[in-house]
């Protein structure tokens, strides 16, 4: 009996022979969903293809795997071509995949291209419709899922860059059957709130089916009709949806959308510092100009020597006086005295007015010198010490018991000196 027994190897070889003899198994086009996908270090793909009732192991060797234009992942619906054979070592059969493409993509992609083309022709992507994103928004509306990384990333970036801005989330299903209606509804609701300044619409990465709501015409029109500017952030950097083309600004990621929406605190602080520097510099320049102008005025002869103002008048006076001396008769003399006194009076008035003008001018000029006035210095906390009305510059000019007067900007203090401590002069 034992002699009749088959070895496991022999049986497995027989089964393998049966598989290989079947023409149908040699060239199979198979549709299924990927699960358990592994891309091993040598470059081979190992995965399971399944539908709702059955599954089959699958392998795709490196030589074929590298030609697949996308990275397969669990849950992806694919069409594969290959053959079925037995793998003796594990005693299982599997499909050896030679080529793979995404199921359904062809159809969706056609729709995408058609809608994109139609909307472009209708002008929905035109640059002239793009609204400017406000520089300093006070509230940002976010239309995305309440869970997930999108809102978290956006809040994170705004907290770091510009926490002055408020965020209002409109929880929205961003994939599945009702996603498009929800996106449209929430874009409209966000427009109704007058506190919102800008809208970010987005979702994380996913398959083309997951991103599909953002390729729907009603979503495109809602974005186009929005009065508030919209920043889109859909999927990954490489995904371009119709929503991205219609929106006022497309961001490659949700974080990037937040960066577009708000300014950066660090840059703003630098800008404020810079403004402060410019203010100081502006005032300094102005002060310098005024000082120069003032110095120029002070150099003018008329200010340095006001007596020159009266010089011409005194000459006239001398002339009249000389003439007077030459007049002999008393009557004439008396008349001349009258004339003289009138003229003298006029002269005095003129002299007074000229001197006053000069004095006023001088006072105006000196008041502009306020900031070099000792009183101004004293306002900063310096005081002046006087003894017998004379300003003291040195401690050695005071003896203990002396009565001194300390002058502040707003008054004086009289006191008696206790002790005088002298320091060696250098």
């Amino acid at each position: 009996m034992a002699e009749d027994a088959l070895t496991v190897t022999a049986l497995t070889r027989y089964i393998k022979y049966k598989f290989e003899a079947d023409e149908h198994l040699k060239n199979i086009l198979l549709k299924g969903e990927i699960s358990n996908f592994k891309h091993n270090v040598r470059g081979h793909f190992y995965f399971t293809l399944k539908d709702d009732r059955a599954q089959i192991s699958a392998v795709m060797f490196k030589g074929n795997a590298w030609r697949v234009p996308f990275e397969p992942e669990d849950g992806m619906s694919v069409l594969v071509r290959g053959y079925v054979d037995v793998f003796e070592r594990s005693g299982g059969y599997q499909i050896y995949v030679e080529s793979m493409e995404q199921a359904g993509i062809g159809n969706l992609y056609q729709q995408y291209l058609k809608l994109k083309n139609d909307l472009e022709k209708a002008g929905l992507f035109d640059e002239r419709h793009k609204k400017a994103i406000p520089m300093f928004p006070t509230q940002i509306a976010v239309v995305t899922s309440r869970t997930g990384a999108v809102i978290r990333d956006i809040l994170h970036v705004i907290a770091r860059r510009y926490p002055l801005c408020k965020v209002l989330l409109y929880p929205t299903a961003v994939q599945g059957e009702h996603a498009k209606e929800e996106i449209v509804k929430n874009i409209e609701r966000a427009n109704e709130n007058p506190d919102n300044d800008v809208i970010i619409v987005g979702r994380g990465g996913g398959s083309i089916e997951d991103l599909w709501p953002f390729n729907e015409a009603i979503v495109a029109h809602a974005i186009f009709d929005s009065k508030l500017p919209i920043i889109s952030a859909v999927g990954h950097q490489t995904d371009y949806t119709i929503a991205d083309f219609v929106s006022d600004k497309r961001a490659p990621t949700p974080s990037a959308a937040a960066e577009i929406a708000v300014p950066d605190k660090m840059t703003l602080l630098e800008r404020i510092d810079d403004d402060g520097r410019k203010l100081r510099h502006g005032l300094k320049t102005l002060l310098k100009e005024h000082t120069t102008a003032l110095n120029r005025i002070m150099q003018r002869t008329i200010i340095k020597d006001p007596s020159r103002i009266v010089m011409p008048y005194s000459r006239q006076y001398e002339y009249i006086e000389g003439k007077l001396r030459l007049m002999h008769p008393r009557k004439q003399l008396a008349q001349s005295y009258d004339t003289l006194s009138t003229k003298e009076k006029a002269l005095r008035l003129a002299y007074q007015s000229v001197v006053n003008t000069a004095k006023n001018h001088y006072e105006q000029v000196t008041s502009n010198l306020e900031y070099v006035n000792p009183l101004s210095i004293m306002k900063k906390g310096y005081t002046m010490v006087r003894k017998d009305g004379k300003i003291l510059k040195k401690a050695r000019s005071i003896d203990s018991g002396d009565a001194i007067e300390v002058v502040f900007s707003d008054g004086r203090v009289t006191s008696t000196v206790d002790t005088v401590i002298l320091e060696d002069e250098e």
């Binding site: 809040l155 907290a159 408020k166 602080l269 502006g282 005032l283 102005l286």
Partner: protein
């Protein structure tokens, strides 16, 4: 002043900077503008420094907004 928004304060500050840089103000006005500018610069800086967390809310199904729990703490 306290209630002036960051944007308005920054804009006013930069208008003052421009005025002072043009240099055609009378001295007393320039000093006044300088002081106002410095006050605004301080105000802007304080607004930025003071804000640490974003005020985040979520619109519920009734259309009212309620505070949004920080999703960063849900991890």
């Amino acid at each position: 002043m306290e209630k002036q928004s960051f944007e308005a304060a920054l804009k006013e500050l930069e208008t003052i900077v421009e005025k002072l840089e043009n240099g055609d103000l009378p001295l007393d006005e320039a000093v006044k503008e300088y002081e106002a500018g410095m006050k605004l610069s301080k105000h802007c800086r304080q607004l930025l420094d003071k804000a640490e967390t974003v005020l985040a809310s979520v619109v519920n199904e009734h259309g009212d907004s309620e505070p949004l729990d920080d999703p960063n703490t849900e991890d």
